[in-house]
């Protein structure tokens, strides 16, 4: 265990860990692990984080860690945990000090990773929209949170219960309008 610990304080260490557990480091489960460990910085685990995290996971061998990873997903997907995980995912990707938003490309990858399994159609269309619009170059935490709420509350793909006069983020207003235009053209 100690040997691995030394290697872990770096992205290379993380990669080594990933190969040891047999999970790709871009796999969402690594993110979930980071969440569980409450890791601050993407690609790194601090010593404390590692210790506390492992304790929380109740593992002390690689074997057990491997096993734990599989039911970690279940744990994360629980409604009471998921929102927390979702918000964590955004913060985790902020690389610079005082950074408040993430560029569109990264957001699209993150959305796919985090929400793709649950809300595939919403994520696909939203990321498509984000890529073709040019009003927003970045997405901030507020908009990120809004999107999750959108997925949960708004019926899809008809978007019947979406009301632009409510407090939805403007980027979502524009996205909905774009979706409706597409639907009209498709029907015509």
């Amino acid at each position: 265990m100690l040997v691995i610990l030394v290697l872990l304080y770096s992205p290379e260490g993380i990669e080594a860990l990933c190969s040891a557990v047999g999970v790709d480091h871009t796999d969402v489960r690594m993110l979930m692990l980071a969440w569980k460990m409450n890791a601050e910085k993407q690609g790194y685990f601090t010593q404390d984080e590692w210790h506390i995290g492992l304790k929380a996971l109740r593992v002390d061998t690689i074997g057990k860690l491997k096993k734990r990873l599989s039911n970690l997903k279940e744990e994360v997907m629980k409604p009471e945990n998921f929102e927390n995980f979702y918000l964590y995912a955004f913060r985790y990707c902020l690389t610079e000090e005082k950074q408040k938003s993430i560029d569109i490309e990264s957001i699209c990858i993150l959305l796919d990773l985090v929400l793709g399994s649950q809300f595939r159609p919403q994520v696909d269309t939203f990321t498509e929209y984000l890529k073709i619009q040019n009003e927003y170059k970045v997405i901030n935490m507020d908009q990120w949170t809004n999107f999750f709420r959108f997925c949960k509350e708004i019926s899809f793909p008809d978007l019947e219960n979406y009301d632009t006069t409510e407090a939805w983020s403007l980027v979502l207003d524009n996205y909905v309008e774009w979706m409706k235009e597409k639907a009209k053209l498709a029907a015509a």
Binding site: K100, S101, D142, S169
Partner: protein
Amino acid sequence: MNSNSNNSNNQKKRNFQIEAFKHKVVVDPKYPEKTWKILEHAIQEIYNHNASGLSFEELYRNAYNMVLHKFGEKLYTGLVSSMTYHLKEMSKSIETAQGGLFLEELNRKWIDHNKALQMIRDILMYMDRTFIPGNHKTPVHELGLNLWRDNIVHSSKVQTRLLNTLLELILRERTGEVINRGLMRNIIKMLMDLGPLVYQEDFEKPFLEVSADFYRVESQKFIECCDCGDYLKKAERRLNEEIERVSHYLDGKSEAKITSVVEKEMIANHMLRLVHMENSGLVNMLLDDKYEDLGRMYNLFRRVPNGLSTIRDVMTSHLRDTGKQLVTDLERVKDPVEFVQCLLNERDKYDKVISLAFNIDKTFQNALNSSFEFFINLNPRSPEFISLFVDDKLRKGLKGVSEEDVEIVLDKVMMLFRYLHEKDVFEKYYKQHLAKRLLSGKTVSDDAERSLIVKLKTECGYQFTSKLEGMFTDMKTSQDTMQGFYTNHGAELGDSPTLVVQVLTTGSWPTQPTVTCNLPAEMSALCEKFRSYYLGTHTGRRLSWQTNMGTADLKATFGKGQKHELNVSTYQMCVLMLFNNADRLSYKEIEQATEIPSSDLKRCLQSLACVKGKNVLRKEPMSKDIGEEDAFFVNEKFTSKFYKVKIGTVVAQKESEPEKQETRQRVEEDRKPQIEAAIVRIMKSRRVLDHNNIITEVTKQLQSRFLANPGEIKKRIESLIERDFLERDNADRRLYRYLA
């Protein structure tokens, strides 16, 4: 009948005992019958017009005695049967009356009966006062009326005939015949005297029904053949007729009922058809200013439910349509001044209609205002055009106009201004146009300018006009500065050109890009003198010459000695002065010497060389456009019939498309901080507020300047969230919280 007083002094003089008057003890069993017979006979005589031979006192006493001796019942019963008998006799003679005499006979008999009744009542007064109340019988007078009612008015041979006769007469009068109104009045009064139930059942109800039928038919006939104006005249006439009829011979209470019948049949039932009648309906009346007809329509329609709202709705939709056409008419928008004048004319027209014909009705004024507000804002250039209209008036339109008339025009402009949703756009243009007016000295009246600023301030508050006032202040201060300059340095300036400088405070005037050019030597020295003078008295300031503005008066002598005074722009001056030292100059040389930016320079040269009557320069080649290889000469052959020639204009013009876009963009940019300030203001005081309420509050706060777009407000909120001024509530995502 004569009255005697009779005293009975059958008193024994004994012990000064005054005994009560003792009635004759009646022993005679035939007494009641005998007494009744006397009275019965009297009644008969009364009905036979033979009352003069009767003694009131005797009859009264007889009646009195009967009641006293407890024979009131017999008396009463006798009265009833006697009166009934006589009434039946009367009825016969009424029934046999022929034709027109029927009513007369009825009337005569009624009068007779009333006279008789009065006498009978007097005779039987004791019974009326004592026996009748105690025994719950009908009093004599009332009894008389009831018997008349039952035996005459409700007799089968009279009842229907009476009603038909009355209705027939009314119909004849309605068709133009003259009838005996006095007789009608008496008969109707008779019915009224018999009680409201009789009047209503035996006359009023059928009268109203028949009238309704009559007017239904008549209105149908009229509406097929009359135009709207004529129809309304007829309806009004009928209405007045009915009112007059009531006052002459019907019960006053019937007025409201009969008028509502006429109103319903003639007006309410045909309201829409009238209003929308082709070629003569409401719209036509409005177009042709038919005040009388409109007034009549208003007065008639206000009597029926939804009458006025019908008129109002049609007027509103017509106004909106014409207004919309007006503001989107492509021809009209080519001339902004004309555009605004048309709007004012339209408003004047409807103002007149409402005051002359619609009783200055507030609801109509509101409809007028809301319609104007609707269509004025359909054209996004309305704010610009209104400012241009004002500019035109303040430049020349109001020349020679009296002070009161000036106020009237300005007040009308303010009225249009109030309708604008985008008042901040107006402000921007107004500022531009005002600056041009002030700087070119082209305002007709300083008082008029100030008066308008005061009106704008009253309407929109201090902030709206503080900068505008700053412009005026600058003009005044500049005057004082110039005076000071010449007082101090006048002597040494001597032969130099006369300089007039306007010093403008940057914040107050519309922003201009600072561009300089090379001034001719004569000017630059002078300008430097001024600059050092000014900065001497105002330390810490910076002056920059705005060479893209300003004018100069040049004295020029041409080839054949013709002298002219040329009024030119600063740029034009720079170019012309070069020719004092050269006969021929190429475009490039001019550009180099003056350093005027090329697009401005091209326009400048064009105005000097290519405009007929103002071509003080000659160009080779003689093409219309300025080419970079062109050469310029003084036009020695220049002539003008005027000594003073004005070249170059600074008049405010309708903006070109790119300029318009630029102004609009600037307005949009200016709005962003205003929206944010409003949001912060509101959130600071409310602390926590939900989305919809913020939108409402912000819109309300900014209303006096422009109509805030909810999408734009949302954007500003998000920006404020990002900058940590606000946050969303964790539990309820519709709420925003202010972060101190």
